[in-house]
């Protein structure tokens, strides 16, 4: 299944698919598309817009409600009679308490370090392997690539027991290395990058080779610069995955000082008791980094989902 399924979303370099939010004459296109799909009828437009607004509101509501709660006092947050606006005004108290506990910033830092390490290692190692499978020949190249593709089917969830055993033996439980290493194996990314390199024209490297460039020079100075959009897409995808990964960090860390954000924030939620405002304040703070990243890199993220569109939760 893998090859058919995956190749669907592997874009060819020659013809980059039009991505949502791609630059250019966006305004023009938008008007045109509206005409093409909805027709000129103002009624159709109004109805579509209304439906869209209702769904968007429903989707934003949970986050708005969490925000509202986070800015309430505990007393107002647990007042069943006045569940809308707070009776005693808004307060930053919840945020201050949560931040001053100190564990949340620490978990953010852990998440950031771990996700960054996973991303750097995965992208570099996968790009190198993609290059090896695409551009070189060595004994066992084909069977090894077939094995890599087959491994896409292995759900990481079934590996937690042996990983735990392995990390126990290596004394890597409750260490950064123990959390990071198993997450760096990404056969899917090797596959995507191999297909991507396959799609790049060979003329440039031929020229470089005639100039005496070796494999490493060709890889590093010719192919990687050509692949920047693809590498960015893969990197964003890996980073989001690692930032949000739950099961393995949850199993492999018990020391709160080493926990990542998703693990820490839920493991001590009982400690907050029924402090709803504080709980929501911590949720809001924890959500901020990636939402901010999204606001800055919206186009890239949208693109990376469309090009590497795999994984999911």
């Amino acid at each position: 299944m893998t090859s058919t399924e995956l190749s669907v979303r592997t874009p060819s370099a020659q013809r980059p698919p039009r991505m949502p939010g791609s630059a250019g004459t966006r305004g023009d296109r938008r008007g045109r598309t509206t005409n093409l799909t909805l027709g000129p009828s103002p009624l159709a437009r109004a109805v579509a817009l209304a439906v869209l607004a209702v769904i968007a509101l429903a989707w934003l509501l949970p986050m708005l409600w969490a925000l509202l709660t986070a800015f309430k006092s505990e007393q107002d947050a647990s007042d069943p009679e006045h569940w809308g606006l707070p009776r005693h005004g808004f307060t930053l108290r919840g945020f201050r308490i949560v931040w001053e506990r100190g564990d949340l910033p620490l978990w953010m830092l852990n998440s950031f370090l771990i996700a960054t390490a996973v991303t750097v290692v995965t992208v570099l190692v996968s790009a190198m392997a993609g290059y090896a499978f695409s551009r070189t020949s060595f004994a066992g190249r084909r069977p090894l690539f077939a094995l890599t593709v087959a491994a896409v089917l292995v759900p990481p969830q079934i590996l937690i027991v042996p990983w735990f055993r392995q990390m126990l033996g290596l004394h890597l439980l409750d260490t950064y290395a123990g959390v990071i290493l198993p997450q760096t194996v990404a056969p899917v990314m090797v596959f995507i990058l191999k297909k991507h390199f396959d799609s790049l024209p060979r003329e440039l490297e031929e020229a470089a080779r005639i100039d005496g460039a070796g494999h490493w020079r060709i890889f590093w100075s010719v192919l990687l610069p050509l692949s920047r959009p693809m590498l960015a897409a893969v990197a964003i995808f890996v980073f989001i995955g690692a930032w949000n990964n739950f099961l393995w960090p949850f199993v492999s860390t018990s020391d709160p000082a080493l926990m990542t954000l998703p693990v820490g924030i839920t493991s001590v939620k009982d400690a907050y008791g029924v402090q709803y405002a504080q709980t929501m304040a911590s949720a809001v703070l924890a959500a901020l980094p990636l939402v901010a990243v999204f606001l800055f890199f919206q186009r890239h993220i949208v693109k990376s989902v469309a090009t590497t569109g795999l994984g999911g939760q």
Binding site: L49, A132, T148
Partner: protein, 300 residues
């Protein structure tokens, strides 16, 4: 899939210790062997032993773990929860994503807002998602019961009522991850050629007609792909169930991955947990094979 490797130039750099290809592949292959192939083999071996977290040397027990698993009602129950969750989450996750993409693709004003609204939840770590929804589902103070109150309906024990809890988990999952499928659909919609619509407009086809006769047929392939990816992702459900309900009430939402977690890490029975891991793996492979067949049929 096949590509001819660059032909090595004879005589150049043939004195290397390592063929350059192997040099490039080695870092990945080392990680791959050490953190995937070896654990896979290790897991298979452990499933044939009574390996445990408590300190005693594991001994070989043959297929005992598997025979026990096949007779284990809890194992079957948790497998069923996984399959049931896959069904009730995949359908809305495909249909709602399609609806969202169709509406946004019309190019109505506010593109940026729609994308942010639909996709932002996907960026939230599961820990945040679960805190948020536990609060929304809170029986006395949560927003959902307040809203039900407003429209005059009774309160619902979202996470405590056995007949509701799994649907609540699916609803949370829909809210959380639909943005991903939405983006896949949006990208596919943008590659539907304009001239099809232009031809239809000349023929006087209305908006509905264009939707049914042009847009939807053009999306057949991506729908299969999205459904396949979604079903495979849903089969692996654990995080949000564990964090929302801990598998409860009365284990009525516990998926098979949580069962193997409970058996292995709470019950210390790593051998038995490995056997369950492999049974689950078999289910995933079976689903993959079925979906591969479906995809193949589409191609023809």
């Amino acid at each position: 899939m096949s590509s001819s490797p660059a032909s090595p130039r004879p005589g150049v750099r043939s004195t290397r210790l390592l063929p350059p290809g192997l040099f490039f592949a080695l870092p990945f292959l080392a990680l791959f062997a050490f953190f995937m192939l070896w654990p896979l083999a290790q897991g298979l071996w452990m499933s044939l032993t009574d390996s445990s977290l408590s300190a005693h040397d594991p001994s070989f027990v043959g297929l005992d773990n598997f025979t026990e698993a096949f007779k284990d009602a809890e194992m079957w129950r948790s497998l069923w929860h996984t399959v049931w969750f896959t069904v009730i989450s995949t359908v809305p996750l495909v249909v709602v994503a399609l609806g969202m993409a169709l509406l946004v693709h019309t190019g109505l004003p506010g593109q940026w807002v729609w994308r942010l609204a639909f996709f932002a939840p996907y960026l939230l770590p599961v820990g945040v998602v679960s805190l948020l929804w536990i609060w929304l589902y809170q029986p006395d103070l949560g927003l959902l019961n307040h809203l039900l109150d407003v429209v005059g309906l009774g309160q619902v024990g979202w996470l405590s009522d056995r007949s509701v809890a799994m649907w609540a988990v699916a609803l949370t999952t829909l809210w959380w991850t639909v943005g991903f499928n939405f983006l896949l659909y949006l990208a596919a919609l943008q590659s539907v050629p304009d001239h099809l619509y232009e031809a239809a407009a000349i023929d006087g086809a209305g908006a509905w007609r264009r939707l049914w006769s042009i847009t939807l047929p053009q999306l057949g392939r991506i729908t299969t792909v999205v459904t396949v990816l979604q079903a495979l992702a849903s089969l692996k459900v654990f995080d949000q169930v564990y964090l929302l309900t801990k598998g409860g009430p009365d284990n009525s939402t516990r998926p098979v991955i949580e069962y193997l977690y409970d058996v292995g890490f709470t019950g210390y029975r790593l051998g038995y947990a490995s056997a369950i891991s492999y049974i689950f793996f078999a289910l995933v492979l079976l689903a993959s094979a079925a979906q591969y067949a479906a995809l193949r049929r589409r191609e023809k």
